[in-house]
């Protein structure tokens, strides 16, 4: 098996997702093909060559469905359509085919917990309680049911129940009050969801990111999260895709503690029979904390607390995404832990309030951006990059809080950053123009021309990751070591062994590592192929530059 080639064509490798590099791309903000000021599918098609060059194996598209857009498209009003400003179903089909032509897969967001209140199902349900959609949502005569379910969006919602003046009943919603939860007790709802999933699979997509899966079912006396019925339905989706669409991946978004998230992988004895992948949420804030604290323990601890996962499953890890991943968005347990453990300092909380992109969070410090990226590409799990972070794009904190990190991709130093030919005033979101991150300084064209740019560096790192299967498939062992500011680990996959040593501190650091089990091998640095002194019996001494890191291959035994 070679790893420096594109992920094999569909149908040839059911575990392609375990070594894929994912890339989250917002259609609206990537490339505008028709000059109307909003990105669209044809624009995205034009940029597939760029993404293939970068080394992306799989694109993740957040919702592009028809929607009143009160929740960034996560309020879907038609499960089988494309938002007109993004293009047509035909555009989508061409996009999937073109991506496949370049060896890239496509995973789309699917929001099954709830719909928009504008969805025809909801409109029918509220006006005709006895009609075919009357039981599609969770209705009640009062708002006293399921009192143990927490309110997730505490800043905007006061209850999980909202009164509907038309039907004169309360409907259940775990998120915004304009997003009624579907009633999964109703077999017709389950069938309708299956039908929608098949619709997209028939168009050739390679999988779904399943949004907000812990909340599908409700039951009195529980917190209405992670219920057995929810797992049961996910298992039935898995069985459907395995039977009818092999090679399809289900990536679940369950913002929970890793010990709870593993439930979503399903049965260990058969290698997992529920979701193929799940996001590992706590890793991201831990990386920020570890670098801030100049201590490896925030990362080491969460890795130690992460259970093994079934053989055919994989974590998804990320540094940033389209959401702000604040402490408000993690579980109560995790938030309490974070605050008690690490956020005693009020400045810390501000920094972890991550409604910002990677580069501005790290004050545009190249060394730190590279260190964070190296950690993302070497910790266990498939990395998910966020569009624009490969060039160190900035954000616009003056936009509404969710839009600040969704500004147009910066392609060139020309008008509208090369994103659109429209009148600048017509852009759905303005391009970033500040002196540090603005499109005139940071854009793909300039960085492609400069071989020492972050873009070229990122491309090279992805390539190295692909050349060494241990990064994607290997076991993880924390090496510890004498220096609390240095995190070192080995990833082992068969005879491919890589060792990563990362300096989390602003200062140069020495570290002594106990590498006796690799005695007699010679570390080869992976970026430059430099041979380091052979490993002996005594602790192996390395010195690291501030926020520096090494990737070594340890496979080579000395004669």
């Amino acid at each position: 098996m070679t790893f420096d080639h594109p992920i094999p064509a569909p149908g040839t490798d059911p575990q392609w997702f375990k070594r894929a590099v994912f890339y989250e791309v917002l259609v609206r903000s990537f490339k505008d093909s028709n000059g109307d000021g909003a990105g669209d599918l044809r624009g995205l098609i034009d940029k597939l060559d760029y993404l293939a060059w970068l080394g992306v194996d799989c694109l993740w598209l957040p919702p592009f469905y028809p929607s009143p857009l009160r929740d960034g498209g996560y309020d879907v009003s038609d499960y089988k359509g494309v938002l007109p400003e993004f293009g047509t179903l035909e555009d989508f089909t061409i996009f999937v085919r073109r991506a496949h032509d370049r060896g890239m897969r496509v995973v789309v967001d699917f929001v099954m917990n709830h719909t928009s209140d504008q969805h025809p199902w909801f409109q029918a349900s509220r006006t005709d309680p006895d009609g075919p959609y009357g039981d599609f949502y969770v209705w009640a005569d009062d708002d006293t049911g399921y009192p143990d379910a927490r309110i997730i969006f505490v800043d905007t919602e006061t209850s999980n129940w909202t009164f509907d003046p038309v039907r004169k009943q309360y409907f259940w919603h775990r998120f915004f009050s304009h997003q009624p939860d579907l009633n999964f007790e109703n077999p017709a709802v389950r069938e309708a969801i299956m039908d929608a999933l098949r619709f997209w699979l028939d168009l050739g997509i390679d999988g779904f990111r399943l949004d907000a899966v812990p909340y599908l079912y409700e039951a009195e006396g529980t917190n209405c999260e992670n219920l057995p019925e929810t797992h049961g339905f996910l298992k039935s989706i898995r069985k459907m895709v395995d039977d009818e669409y092999p090679d399809t991946v289900l990536l679940c978004e369950a913002n929970q503690w890793p010990a709870d998230v593993v439930e979503y992988f399903g049965d260990y004895s058969v290698g997992g029979d529920e979701c193929h992948m799940a996001f590992h949420f706590p890793v991201m804030p831990r990386i920020f904390m570890a670098v801030r604290r100049e201590s490896r323990y925030p990362i080491s601890e969460i890795m130690a607390q992460t259970p093994d996962i079934p053989a055919n499953c994989q974590w998804g890890i990320f540094l940033r995404n389209h959401d702000e991943l604040t402490l408000e968005m993690v579980t109560d347990e995790e938030r309490d832990y974070m605050w008690a453990e690490y956020a005693k300092d009020p400045r810390m909380k501000a920094n972890i309030g991550i409604r910002r992109r990677l580069a501005p969070l790290l004050e545009n410090d190249t060394n730190q951006i590279e260190l964070f990226t190296a950690l993302l590409l070497s910790l266990p799990g498939s990395p998910v990059l966020y569009y624009g972070d490969e060039i160190g794009m900035g954000d616009n904190i003056w936009l509404g809080d969710r839009d600040g990190v969704r500004t147009p991709m910066q392609w060139t130093p020309d008008r509208n950053a090369g994103f659109s030919t429209s009148d600048p005033g017509r852009l759905t979101l303005p391009v970033v123009m500040d002196a540090v991150h603005g499109y005139q300084v940071k854009n793909v064209e300039a960085q492609l021309q400069n071989s020492s740019s972050l873009l070229h560096w990122t491309q090279r790192m992805i390539q190295i990751r692909k050349e060494n299967p241990a990064f994607s498939l290997g076991d993880f062992t924390d090496l510890g070591g004498s220096n609390p500011s240095v995190i070192s680990y080995v990833r082992v996959f068969g005879d491919d062994i890589v060792m990563c040593v990362n300096n989390l501190s602003r200062f140069p650091q020495p570290v002594e590592l106990d590498l006796r089990r690799f005695e007699g091998t010679q570390p080869v640095e992976l970026l430059g192929g430099v041979r380091f002194p052979p490993i002996g019996e005594l602790p192996y001494l390395l010195t690291l530059a501030p926020h520096g890191f090494y990737w070594f291959r340890l496979g080579e035994a000395l004669p």
Binding site: E294, E301, K344, R506
Partner: protein, 462 residues
Amino acid sequence: MSAENWLVNATALLSGWLRHQRWFAGKDRPVDDLHVLAATRLRADDPAVWHLLVEVSQGPQTDLYQVPLSIRPQPDDRLEHVLLGRIDEGYVYDALHDKAATADVLERFARQDAIGSLRFITEPGAALPLGEASLVLTGEQSNTSLAYGDVALLKVFRRIQPGLNPDVEIHDALTRAGCGNIAPLLGWIEGTWEDRHGRLQEASLAMLQSFLTTATDGWAFASASVRDLFAEGDLHADEVGGDFAGEAERLGEATAQVHSRLAQVLPVGTMTPDDLIDLADAMRARLKAAVVTVPELTQHAPALETAFDELAEIDTDVPTQRIHGDYHLGQVLRTVVGWKLVDFEGEPEKSLAERTALDSPIRDVAGMLRSFDYAAWHLLVADHPGDDQITYRASEWATRNRSAFCNGYARAAGRDPREDAVLLRAYETDKAIYEAVYEARNRPAWLPIPLAAAERLAEGVR
């Protein structure tokens, strides 16, 4: 080879070699007499391995040392640094460094072996990393420790005192009690021998425990935080990224948990008001002697004495129990599952009776609080002497972390150690006086650290 012959020859090598070992207590005095009290052959040849218990007389002082030796017919370059010398039978090495000599130790534990003067005892259910090779860890003072793979640590006591070593005793009790804040005990080696008067003696010779692979010691971790603070132009201790207070608080919790476990599984007692008067007298006597060695203490002595006066005036019983006894940041390890306390031997220069005596856990708290002070100040005396701004921030760091430690301790113990203010001040004062004497003799550059503490304690500022 004949035991008699080589013993005579090897003994001749020992007296010169011993005096250069870090763990040898009488380096500054000549060896008057050297007597092998027990010799156990652990391996016949290639290399031959002998376990010796050697009594060393230096003037009136007699100490017993544990010296395993390996004898190889051919020299081994890798062992050159632990060569005692050459005798007719071959080259004599410190066997603890000789992997061939240490290879079967774990197997002996596994079958609970008894051979010669040695008996191998294993904790119930202990998992032993059979087949792993050993490696001597560097940096140890009074013992020699061997890591077997990254799984087990064999701590070989060098100077032997008859009786059960408190390190073994406490680890055994805490392991059986399921205490999570230590490295669990896997086993230990008991030794028996006849002393020169023909009396049978017994002692712990070595201890095998789990190796905490990914650990950092508390001193290195705290020093990293202090360095981080000093590198900032003007931020306070609670503002810098490397803030240690969260760690200090968790360390306080772990300390209290171990104390409470020790009180459950090992004897407890009380100090009566009369005992406290005696304790205060002993502390006064140490202060008096210290003033002679460290004249800088003189100006604070009357104020420091008030700490002991107050101690003598306590009119209630003070609860006592087994404690760590030599507690500081170098005796704790941060692992991925929290803080672990190590090394329950007590202060090595004290007698076994003193090291196993019951005492107030406040003594340990005082030891750790003094250690936070050292962590804050040691870089100051080394790198920034006389810098007022950094001095101010160092004391801020110490205050912040001392208080966080007490908060954590209070939460887990249900009682804040600062409520025992008189006891705490007396122990801290006594410790600072001890430190002043130690630094004046061994590390004059660090003397300002305990002196500054003495000044603060004299002012009643904590």
